[in-house]
């Protein structure tokens, strides 16, 4: 294998590693990596030596930044799309780019592409250096970049961002409710993918001195995509294996073509396609573990005894006035007002369809309209995360499992929650002292949340093995770990054993004692009677009764709503 073809394969690997970041870590089926490679390749050819004449040291970074901006814009434009439609959109982009390159021959040289003199020079006046980018130098650069990217991928996968991304891939809605900035994470991931793709384009253009539409065809996107999903999971060696296979094809085809007496070019197409179909069909064989990075099990510190509730007393309150909500013209909530106070457990009861869950959603900023006040101050939420940051968290009726992320990690994910900053990824990457401090704090919070919900002994098992009741408790643990002071729990006792109900009861009373405001939707009046300080009864979107559990149960209007008129 010549130096040139080795360097080419490594540049291809760099593009694949970049793509892996989006596909395996970010869960975005991106089929347009060739577009970003094209931006890098054509960018450096147009801007750099032989084009507008900028020095290579300036043209290359500009091309990479341009691609990163384009990647960011792509994520921004298609953030609403479901996985498959995201794939369709980016696949169309790949073809569109191809047609644009051919449609404007004056700018891009048509199907011949652009040629530039090689070897190029990397000149620095300040350092007085003049580096000639021969094949060997280029090879070293490519290898160095690939090693750095692999190390970064491994480190990110094991760190807080890896957890964020795993949650994002498993359940975007849940990730958002735990305070993971889903949209911005996606944008950053795609920008990084694009930058690496462009770097790959720059590298191979500088190596070969030529870039043409056929070098950055949609086929390249497809090959890279298959290379990345071949191993079926976020392991750094997946792309390496995939690219090795794809790079080995042309020489292998040449040998076979010689033996059989076919033309090499069409045969190579058939073999490439057959390899891809076979790889996708047989992918399951390669995948023995669930397709998520497995961050190492965490040793959480043993949480100390619960501190004295009196010292933690918070005077939190959440209030909603004139809440309205409707689904497709059907009124679900009609002018409902409610006040939650710290230190109290409230219960929301009512027949099915009376608007209980909808009211929780209004309070959590997910649906409907109404004036929400937190601690007396009006609060407007543009997204679920805004409410999470303000300390209001809702759990859902059906607990999402988040397969592949241990309960301890899930709670840690939530513990990073509202306080999560943009720099957390960079801090972790370079292991700054600040990141270690943050980490210690996160672990302490997580350990306390697990202890308070009685889940400490289950911290490191596969969440698939949790019972229904344990999943509900885990939801509460996650909500607590976000640091929320207002908890909105939708039927937390559903599917629980009597023992788990007892645990739930003491968990809720304990949380209330430490100053949290809690609202529980519940059908079981015995459970409500034993845990709630007050009860509000909803029927057909209106409040029909409110008061102490005992008095509400005796109310004739309530009896009618539940049992019908006698």
């Amino acid at each position: 294998m010549s130096v040139i073809s080795m360097a080419q394969a490594l540049w291809l690997l760099l593009a694949a590693l970049g793509l892996a970041l989006s596909v395996s870590y970010g869960g975005l089926p991106l089929l347009g990596q060739s577009v970003f490679v094209a931006v890098g390749g054509y960018g450096v050819a147009l801007l750099g030596p032989g084009g507008t004449g900028l020095p290579l040291g300036l043209a290359a970074p500009i091309a990479v930044l341009l691609a990163a901006a384009l990647g960011y814009l792509t994520a921004l434009s298609f953030s609403r799309l479901d996985g498959a439609y995201f794939a369709l959109a980016t696949w169309t982009l790949a073809w569109l780019a191809q047609r644009v390159l051919v449609a404007f021959p004056d700018a891009f040289g048509g199907s011949e592409g652009l040629t530039r003199p090689v070897p190029m020079h990397l000149v620095s006046r300040t350092l007085g250096a003049d580096l000639v980018l021969t094949g060997t130098v280029n090879l070293c650069l490519a290898a160095g970049l690939c090693v750095v990217v692999v190390l970064a991928l491994v480190r990110i996968g094991n760190g807080p961002a890896g957890l964020d991304l795993a949650a994002l891939r498993e359940s975007p809605e849940l990730a958002a409710s735990l305070g993971v900035p889903t949209t911005s994470r996606r944008r950053m991931v795609l920008a990084a993918t694009a930058a690496l793709g462009a770097a790959s384009g720059v590298g191979s253009t500088v190596l070969l001195g030529v870039i043409s539409p056929s070098d950055v065809s949609p086929l390249l996107s497809l090959q890279l995509f298959v290379a990345v999903i071949l191993a079926g999971s976020a392991h750094w060696w997946g792309p390496v294996l995939g690219v090795a296979l794809i790079s080995a094809l042309p020489p292998a085809t040449a040998v076979i073509a010689d033996l059989v007496g076919f033309h090499a070019a069409p045969l190579q197409g058939v073999l490439t396609a057959a390899l891809m179909v076979g790889a996708i069909g047989g992918r399951e064989l390669l995948r023995r573990r669930p397709g998520v990075p497995q961050p190492r099990a965490w040793a959480l510190p043993i949480a100390g005894p619960r501190s004295d509730p009196a010292t933690q007393e918070r005077s939190v309150s959440l209030e909603v006035a004139h809440a309205h909500a409707s689904y497709a013209g059907v009124l679900a909530l009609d002018d409902v007002s409610l006040l939650l106070r710290g230190g109290q457990v409230g219960a929301l009861v009512g027949p099915n369809g009376s608007g209980k869950s909808t009211l929780l959603k209004v309070l959590a900023g997910e649906a409907g309209t109404g004036e929400v006040r937190i601690d007396g101050k009006p609060h407007r939420a543009r997204s679920v995360q805004d409410r999470v940051r303000a300390g209001v968290v809702r759990t859902s009726q059906r607990a999402t499992v988040l397969a592949g992320i241990t309960p301890a990690q899930q709670v840690a994910l939530a513990a990073r929650g509202a306080g999560r900053s943009r720099q957390v990824v960079a801090r972790h990457l370079f292991a700054t002292p600040r990141s270690r401090l943050d980490e210690d704090q996160v672990r302490a919070t997580a350990a306390a949340a697990l202890r308070d919900t009685g889940l400490t002994h289950l911290g490191d098992i596969d969440p698939i093995r949790l019972s229904v009741g344990e999943r509900q408790l885990l939801q509460i643990a996650r909500a607590v770990a976000t640091g929320a002071s207002v908890l909105l729990l939708d039927e937390p006792a559903a599917g629980m054993t009597p023992g788990e109900r007892d645990t739930l009861r003491s968990v809720l009373r304990g949380l209330a004692a430490s100053g949290s405001a809690i609202l529980v939707v519940e059908h079981d009046m015995l459970f409500v009677g034993s845990v709630a300080d007050w009860v509000t009864v909803l029927d057909a979107g209106r409040i029909i009764a409110a008061g102490k559990p005992g008095s509400v149960q005796a109310d004739p209007a309530v009896r009618e709503a539940f049992l019908g008129t006698a």
Partner: protein, 324 residues
């Protein structure tokens, strides 16, 4: 309207009717199986070449066919469409579909698998046919022979303008076929199962509907329509095996425009995209003929992925979501 523009519009609409048939299949599969049929364009072109290979051999010319070979050609192209589409479904799509009961993972799991599977299957089809048909493009004999009805293949209008007879016939047959397909899918028992699966696969499975069989059925119907589109589109111009990929995206543009899952929308979308394509090519230059529908699709997916139709059952079936 001046004569040239009239020809352009008519050619666009005829192309659009064909595109509508392809889009109809795409929409049918996407709306019911919740699977985007990425190999659909390749299957359309592939069906034409497989049919030609079976009836005429691998060096076709535009020369006339006997009535018998014409019929054979039409039938084998349509059958090839169904067979190829069914093969794609069985080999790469169904194995990668998550089981219906796996509610929480249905949306994301398997997506990379069947997306890449469909694309790779299309690529394989293109490559194999490319091995057999070595030229850049071919003239395919016309089994319909409608242009023989008038001496020069033109239809003279009272105002002195002329219309290409073949384009008129393609437009009429294409639209009628589309409407017939739409009505029969809506009315038939199979159509009911299709809509049940589209609405709620788990619920349909509980009612005794075999979801896998219905998905396979959707792929087969889409393949038949693709074959019919191939019969209408391929003759009368130079066609190449490689056209399939972009044809598939043009059909996707039509389907998304009309609202994925809406069959009438797909037909209307096809006509609109065909018209757009013809006019963009006429006004801006040949390079924009392919470029315009691709740009339209990117724009639609960014701005209005649910399509321009007000209402379609795809809206719920595909579960567009606004991610936080």
């Amino acid at each position: 309207m001046d004569g040239v523009l009239l020809q352009v519009v008519l050619a666009g609409l005829a192309e659009g009717a064909v595109l509508g048939l392809v889009a109809l299949g795409f929409s049918l599969v996407s709306g019911t199986a919740r699977v985007l049929h990425f190999a659909h364009g390749d299957i359309t072109m592939g069906a034409v070449f497989v049919g030609v290979l079976v009836v005429v051999g691998n060096s076709p010319t535009a020369a006339g066919l006997t009535p018998l070979t014409s019929l054979l050609l039409v039938l084998s192209i349509i059958a090839a469409g169904a067979v190829l589409s069914g093969l794609v479904a069985m080999l790469v799509v169904l194995p990668n579909l998550p089981s219906v009961s796996d509610e929480s993972r249905r949306r994301l799991a398997g997506v990379p698998g069947w997306v890449a599977g469909g694309l790779a299957a299309g690529l394989l089809l293109r490559a194999v046919l490319g091995l057999l048909f070595a030229q850049q493009s071919y003239a395919v004999p016309d089994p319909l022979r409608v242009d023989a009805l008038t001496p020069d293949g033109l239809l003279r209008l009272p105002g002195g303008n002329t219309l290409a007879l073949r384009a008129v016939v393609v437009l009429v047959i294409g639209v009628s076929l589309g409407l017939i397909a739409e009505r029969s899918v809506v009315r038939s028992r199979f159509g009911r199962s299709l809509r049940a699966v589209a609405d709620d696969p788990a619920g349909a499975a509980l009612c005794g509907v075999s979801v896998r069989r219905v998905v396979l059925g959707a792929f087969l119907v889409a393949g038949l329509l693709a074959g019919a589109a191939g019969v209408l589109a391929a003759p009368g111009r130079a066609v190449s095996v490689d056209e399939g990929a972009v044809l598939g995206l043009e059909a996707a543009a039509a389907a998304v425009l009309g609202g994925v899952g809406s069959l009438r929308g797909a037909m209307a979308g096809g006509l609109a995209v065909g018209l757009l394509q013809a006019i963009a090519g006429y006004l801006l230059g040949a390079g924009f003929y392919d470029l315009a529908p691709l740009a339209l699709l990117v724009l639609l997916l960014a701005v209005r992925p649910q399509g321009v139709a007000v209402r379609s059952f795809a809206w719920r079936a595909n579960g567009w979501r606004a991610s936080g």
